[in-house]
C-alpha cells in the first residue's frame, strides 16, 4: 500500500487518489485550491495595512445595515462593519492554522521518522502508542485543554497542534518505511551513514512532498477545528474577529437577520475548500501515479 494512502482529509477520511479524468490535463485542483488560499492570504495581509473601517468600532445607530456603498457587506448587530471583521478574521484563521500545523509538523515528523527507522519491536510499540493518540480527535483535545487551562486562542492552537501530531507521525512513518527499503538508502547505510544524518540527508527530502500534502490537508482540519471552537466560545475570545465567533454571534440574531451567517460561512468554506484542493493538487503533482490513470 502506498504511503500516500495515509494522508487523511478534513474529516478523517483518507484522501483518495483518482480524479482520473484529469490525467494529462491541467491540474485544476492545484490552481483552484491555490487561488482560493491566495485569496484568503491576500485578505489577511491587506487587513494589516488597511480595512474599510475599524473592525472593533461599534455604531449602534447603524445596526444590521444591509450591503451599501459605505459598508459593502453590511453591518452586524453592533453596527460593526462585516467586511472589516471578515478581513481581520482571515488573519486569525491563518494564524491558528500556521501555528497548529507547525507544532504538529515539527513534533510529529521526527517522531514518525524515528518510528520508521526504529527496530521492529520498538516500531510496533510506537505504532500502537500513535494509534492510541489518534483516538483523541483535535476538537476533543481542544475542549479538554479549554476545561483545564481556560479558553483562549493560544490554548486552541496548541491543542489542535497536539491533536494533529499523531497524524503527521503516521504519514512520516509510512513514508520512511518506504524510503528505508530503497536502494539508495541501502547504499548510504553500507557506506556507514546512520541515525540522524541518514534521516536528515536521505529520508526527510524524500518524504517532504508527502508531508507538504498532509500539511495542506491538516491546515483545512485546523481551520474547521478553530472555527468550531470559537463558535463554542472556547477559542478566540470576543471582540477579536474570528469567523467561528462571528457565526456564534450571528446565531443569536438568526431570527432577525439570517444574512449575517453568510460571509463568515463563505470565509470558512472557501479557506477549507482551498486547502483541501491544494492538498489534492499537490499530491497529483508530486506523485503522478496517484493521479489515478488506468
Amino acid at each position: 500500500m502506498s504511503a500516500a494512502r495515509d494522508v487523511v482529509d478534513a474529516t478523517g477520511a483518507p484522501v483518495v487518489a483518482g480524479t482520473d479524468e484529469t490525467a494529462g490535463v491541467a491540474n485544476w485542483s492545484l490552481w483552484i485550491g491555490g487561488g482560493l488560499v491566495g485569496l484568503v492570504v491576500v485578505m489577511a495581509l491587506v487587513s494589516f495595512a488597511w480595512t474599510p473601517y475599524d473592525p472593533y468600532f461599534v455604531d449602534v445607530t447603524n445596526r444590521f445595515g444591509g450591503p451599501s456603498p459605505t459598508n459593502l457587506l453590511g453591518t452586524d448587530q453592533f453596527g460593526r462593519d462585516v467586511l472589516s471583521r471578515l478581513m481581520v478574521g482571515a488573519r486569525t484563521t491563518l494564524f491558528v492554522g500556521i501555528v497548529s500545523v507547525g507544532v504538529a509538523g515539527v513534533v510529529g515528523t521526527p517522531l514518525g521518522i524515528l518510528m520508521g527507522m526504529a527496530p521492529a519491536w520498538l516500531h510496533r510499540i510506537l505504532l500502537r502508542a500513535n494509534d492510541l493518540l489518534l483516538a483523541f480527535p483535535a476538537l476533543l483535545l481542544a475542549i479538554m485543554f479549554a476545561a483545564v487551562f481556560g479558553p483562549s486562542t493560544a490554548t486552541a492552537m496548541v491543542a489542535i497542534g497536539i491533536g494533529t501530531i499523531p497524524v503527521f507521525a503516521r504519514i512520516a512513518r509510512s513514508g520512511t518505511v518506504q524510503v528505508m527499503s530503497s536502494e539508495y538508502v541501502l547504499a548510504a547505510r553500507s557506506a556507514g551513514r546512520r541515525g540522524v544524518r541518514l534521516a536528515v540527508r536521505h529520508v526527510l527530502p524524500n518524504i517532504a512532498s508527502l508531508l507538504l500534502v498532509q500539511a495542506s490537508v491538516s491546515f483545512a482540519i485546523a481551520i474547521l477545528a478553530e472555527a468550531a471552537l470559537s463558535f463554542l466560545q472556547f477559542g478566540t475570545p470576543s471582540p477579536i474577529p474570528s469567523w467561528g465567533l462571528m457565526l456564534f454571534q450571528a446565531q443569536s440574531v438568526l431570527a432577525v437577520n439570517p444574512g449575517l451567517t453568510v460571509w463568515p460561512g463563505v470565509g470558512i468554506a472557501v479557506a477549507v475548500l482551498g486547502f483541501n484542493l491544494l492538498g489534492d493538487g499537490l499530491r497529483d503533482r508530486f506523485d503522478p501515479r496517484l493521479a489515478g490513470h488506468q
Binding site: 482529509d9 478534513a10 474529516t11 478523517g12 477520511a13 483518507p14 483518495v16 487518489a17 483518482g18 480524479t19 482520473d20 479524468e21 500502537r128 494509534d131 492510541l132 483516538a135 483523541f136 480527535p137 476538537l139 476533543l140 475542549i143 479538554m144 479549554a146 476545561a147 483545564v148 483545512a220 474547521l224 472555527a227 468550531a228 463558535f231 463554542l232 472556547f234 457565526l247 450571528a250 446565531q251 438568526l254 431570527a255 439570517p258 451567517t261 460561512g265 470558512i268 468554506a269 472557501v270 477549507v272 475548500l273 483541501n276 484542493l277 489515478g292 488506468q294
Partner: protein
C-alpha cells in the same frame, strides 16, 4: 480466526486502559483546583482541606486513578465536585440522545452518499459526474454547525416548518421527536454524506478497473449488474473502514451540532462541564467518547476478519 479476534480484543482492552490513564493524567495537571472552584475564591484553607477530603482529591494520584478507573466498567463515574450529583446516570441519559442523533445522521449520510458516489463514479468521464464530484468537494468544506445555522434560517425561521432546536424524548411524543431530530441530523449527515460520497466514488472507480469486473462485463453483464454482483462485495472492506471513521467523526461533530440545536446530548453535557469547570464530569464524558472511538476501531478490525476470507485463512 478465533485467535485473531482474541488478539484484537485484548489489544482493545489494553488500549482502553492506557486511554483512561491519559485522560485521568491530563485532567489532574492542575491539582486541588476542584475544591477551590467549587468553594469560590474566598474559601478558607480549612474549608478547602475539608472539601478535598470529601472528594478524596487529597489522596495520592495513583490511588485516585484506581478508584476512578475501578468504577468505570460499572458506569460509576464518581460525583461531580460542582453540582454534587452522581455523573454516571447523566452520561447514560445523554448518551442515548446522542446515539439517536449520530444514528440518524449516519442514515442521512448513507442515503446521500451511496447513490451519488456510485453515480459520480459511473459517469466519471461525463459532465454530470464531474459536477457531482465538485458538489461533494464543496460539501466537505462546510462545517456542520454552519450547515445547522443555514438549515435553521431556512426551515425554522423563514418557512416555520420545523423547530429551531430542543429535544422531545421519542416515548413522550414520537412526532415531535422526529421533527426535532430532523434538522440536527441533516446538518451532521449532509456534510458527512459529501465526504462519504467522495469515498464511495473512488472505491467504485477503482473496482470498475478490476479484472473480475471486465470478465463479468465480457460475459455479457451490464455495467450495473457487474458492479452489484461482483463489485459490492469487494467494495465492502474499504467502505466499512470509512464508515467506522465516519462514525467517530460524527460523534465528535455531534458535540458542536448539539450546541447549535440545544440538543441535550453528550456534547452539551461536555460543554456545560467545561463552562462550569466541572473537571470530573469532563473527564467522564471524554472517557466515554474515547472508548466509543476505540470500540468503533475495534469493530472495524473485527469486521475485516469476518468480511475478508483471505484474512480469515491466514489465521
Amino acid at each position: 480466526m478465533a485467535y485473531q479476534l482474541l488478539v484484537r480484543t485484548a489489544t482493545f482492552v489494553v488500549t482502553v486502559v492506557l486511554a483512561s490513564v491519559l485522560v485521568f493524567g491530563f485532567m489532574a495537571i492542575l491539582p486541588g483546583s476542584a475544591a477551590r472552584v467549587s468553594l469560590g475564591v474566598n474559601a478558607t484553607p480549612e474549608a478547602i482541606a475539608r472539601v478535598e477530603a470529601d472528594f478524596g482529591v487529597d489522596r495520592p494520584l495513583p490511588v485516585q486513578y484506581l478508584d476512578w478507573a475501578a468504577g468505570l466498567p460499572t458506569g460509576d463515574f464518581g460525583t461531580s465536585y460542582v453540582t454534587r450529583r452522581v455523573i454516571g446516570p447523566a452520561i447514560v441519559d445523554r448518551l442515548l440522545v446522542t446515539s439517536w442523533l449520530v444514528g440518524a445522521s449516519m442514515l442521512v449520510a448513507l442515503v446521500i452518499a451511496l447513490p451519488l458516489g456510485t453515480l459520480a463514479a459511473v459517469r466519471h468521464q461525463r459532465p454530470s459526474g464531474t459536477v457531482l464530484a465538485g458538489v461533494s468537494q464543496v460539501g466537505v468544506a462546510v462545517p456542520s454547525f454552519l450547515a445547522g445555522l443555514l438549515l435553521i434560517a431556512l426551515f425554522a425561521v423563514k418557512l416555520r416548518w420545523l423547530p429551531s432546536g430542543g429535544w422531545t424524548p421519542p416515548a413522550r411524543d414520537p412526532v415531535a421527536f422526529l421533527r426535532g431530530l430532523l434538522l440536527p441530523s441533516l446538518a451532521l449527515g449532509l456534510v458527512q454524506g459529501s465526504v462519504l460520497a467522495r469515498y464511495v466514488r473512488s472505491t467504485v472507480l477503482n473496482i470498475q478497473r478490476e479484472d473480475f469486473i471486465r470478465t463479468a462485463r465480457s460475459k455479457g453483464l451490464r455495467r450495473w449488474q457487474a458492479l452489484v454482483r461482483h463489485g459490492l462485495r469487494n467494495a465492502a472492506i474499504p467502505i466499512v473502514t470509512v464508515l467506522g471513521l465516519q462514525l467517530s467523526v460524527l460523534l465528535v461533530g455531534a458535540v458542536v451540532v448539539e450546541r447549535v440545536f440545544t440538543v441535550p446530548g453528550l456534547g452539551s453535557l461536555l460543554l456545560d462541564g467545561v463552562a462550569n469547570r466541572d473537571l470530573l464530569l469532563v473527564q467522564g464524558v471524554v472517557m466515554v467518547l474515547v472508548v466509543m472511538i476505540l470500540a468503533i476501531n475495534w469493530a472495524v478490525d473485527v469486521l475485516y476478519t469476518v468480511l475478508d476470507p483471505r484474512l480469515r485463512a491466514r489465521a
